[in-house]
């Protein structure tokens, strides 16, 4: 029945020929069908809501998410710093279910069958789709840090780079650490999720130490040759606020760890910490990585920027941190939300037998706390460029804060409240 409908739309599209190409009918064309969304983070939750909202209920949406509630990575560094709680960064999926009519299933996807257009669930059973959206975030490349391969090692040396139990566990490690101890955070080579995030975390842990454990130290072991994001503003904060507390080391790639002694092993050096926080290199989340989609550097999914579809498997759209990003585009929650809207608009056109819009625009804002109150931002706007077939940053637009300030500290919390509502309620 659903297939018949789709064919009818295609017929109308063909009959009206040039008109359809001009989008003459898109406003009146009704999209229908079933979209399965895998992953209920910033990208997946957004597209689930927007597909339902913009189709006025015409498109059925199933969201498959392994966690019972949404827990935000942005703002989670404030939980680690001690000024916010897990409750502050947790939002229910009830809004998507009850207000927007999204079918939310708590499960994992075991496999995708692109030829049959079905997915199978870990708990058993399969489901067919007209279009599939994968928004799986990232998974870690444990092979790059061999000492961290076991679950036991991973429970001792934390990443806390996915908000949830690890966020709580890292906070506990910091609380248990004696005054005079050292916290070390390692940053993988770019690209990685949330470019300014590790520097923000270092600031917030230093802020906590300054107030509660003043003899303690923070050391950043950065695999990159320089600070990746908001360099001037972070370095000013470190000099002004954390002199003697926070130390930055560049070209300090963690190659392995010795779990028993809590030691990071660098190429020519070792670093023993009381709390060792290793963010391993990451890649597209497992389900996107193993489903046969074309990858770049065997890590990130190659997508078509007009629809966010995989370049090798049309009909499968990939959002958020899992994709190979456009030039200067960060892997951020804000950007994943924008991907969700771009793909929602494209999918609704496609389900109505039309082409995606030829002029998509996405933008990013990212706020980082340098202490519990003061914030610095980076912003950018990206417009589609037909010549390079990607979204390009607009020259002269975007930028960073003039200086850290408390006003943006309030704006950052306002941003979180609004984006969570934009995704989930």
């Amino acid at each position: 029945m659903m297939l018949m409908k789709r064919r009818d739309f295609l017929k109308v599209g063909a009959a009206s020929g040039a008109m359809a190409a001009l989008y003459g009918c898109a406003g009146g064309g009704k999209a229908s069908g079933h979209v399965v969304v895998v992953g209920g983070g910033y990208g997946g939750a957004t597209i689930a809501k927007y597909l339902r909202m913009w189709s006025e209920g015409g498109v059925q949406v199933t969201l498959i998410e392994r966690n019972p509630t949404f827990i935000s990575c942005p703002i989670s560094n404030l939980v680690i710093g001690g000024s916010k709680t897990m409750e502050d960064i947790t939002v229910s999926y009830d809004g998507l279910k009850n207000k927007w009519g999204v079918r939310v299933i708590q499960d994992d996807v075991a496999a995708v069958d692109a030829a049959k257009k079905t997915i199978s669930l870990k708990a058993g059973g399969a489901m067919s789709y007209d279009r599939l959206v994968l928004s799986p975030g990232v998974d870690f490349m444990w092979d790059e840090i061999p000492g961290l391969k076991s679950a036991d090692a991973q429970s001792k040396i934390l990443h806390a780079w996915k908000a949830g139990p690890q966020t709580v566990a890292l906070r506990k490690q910091l609380e248990a650490m004696k005054d005079g101890g050292t916290y070390a955070i390692s940053i993988p080579k770019a690209p990685y999720r949330c470019p300014p995030g590790p520097y923000e975390r270092a600031c917030l842990v230093a802020d906590y130490f300054k107030k509660n454990k003043p003899k303690s130290k923070v050391v950043i072991l950065d695999a990159n040759e320089d600070v990746v994001s908001k360099k001037g503003l972070f370095m000013k904060a470190w000099g002004d606020l954390y002199k003697g507390t926070l130390e930055y080391r560049n070209n300090a790639e963690v190659k392995d760890v010795d779990v028993a002694s809590n030691t990071a092993i660098l190429e020519f050096d070792k670093f023993k910490a009381d709390v060792l926080n290793v963010i391993p290199p990451h890649r597209a989340g497992d389900i996107a990585h193993k489903s046969g989609l074309k990858l770049i550097n065997n890590r990130w999914v190659d997508i078509n920027w007009l629809s966010m579809e995989s370049t090798s498997m049309p009909g499968i759209h990939v959002l958020g941190d899992a994709i190979f990003p456009a030039p200067t585009m960060p892997k951020s929650g804000h950007m994943a939300n924008q991907h969700g809207k771009l793909a929602a608009a494209a999918i609704l056109n496609q389900l109505a037998g039309l082409e995606p819009s030829p002029t998509p625009v996405v933008m990013n804002t990212c706020y980082s706390f340098v202490d519990a109150k003061n914030v610095i931002h980076v912003s950018s706007v990206h417009q589609y460029d037909a010549a390079t077939k990607t979204v390009q940053p607009v020259k002269g637009a975007g930028g960073v804060s003039a200086a850290r300030n408390e006003l943006e500290g309030k704006v950052a919390i306002g941003w979180a409240k609004n984006i969570w509502a934009d995704m989930l309620t």
Binding site: M19, Q338, L342, S357, T359, V361, S380, G396, G398, G414
Partner: protein, 101 residues
């Protein structure tokens, strides 16, 4: 066939009124890029400190955006973001928000 003719007429009217071929949902899509901070369809979360744009008079929104672009209106971030959109795009965005409740 009759329905197709009707649809075709509506389509041609829509095309005739547009300067160039564009997705008729372009204004909606562009306005959605603002929703992360200003709320879905411009309805910001109450008490969040962010400006609600829903129902704001088009001329007022456009004036604000022009002042952000020129630097006449001081801003923490909007002076940077407004420069990323063309005047035509800002016009579509302002029109869309003016029509929202």
């Amino acid at each position: 066939m009759k329905m197709l003719t009707t649809v075709a007429t509506v389509c041609l009217l829509a095309v005739a009124s547009a300067a160039h071929a564009a997705d008729p949902n372009l204004a909606r899509n562009l306005a959605a890029t603002c929703a992360n901070c200003h709320g879905t369809n411009g309805n910001a979360v109450k008490g969040s400190g962010m400006d609600s744009l829903a129902g704001m008079e088009k001329a007022k929104t456009l004036q604000k955006l022009a002042d952000f672009k020129s630097g006449d209106k001081p801003a923490s971030i909007m002076h940077q973001i407004s420069k990323g959109y063309t005047d035509e795009q800002l016009d579509l965005i302002a029109t869309y928000f003016a029509a929202q409740k």
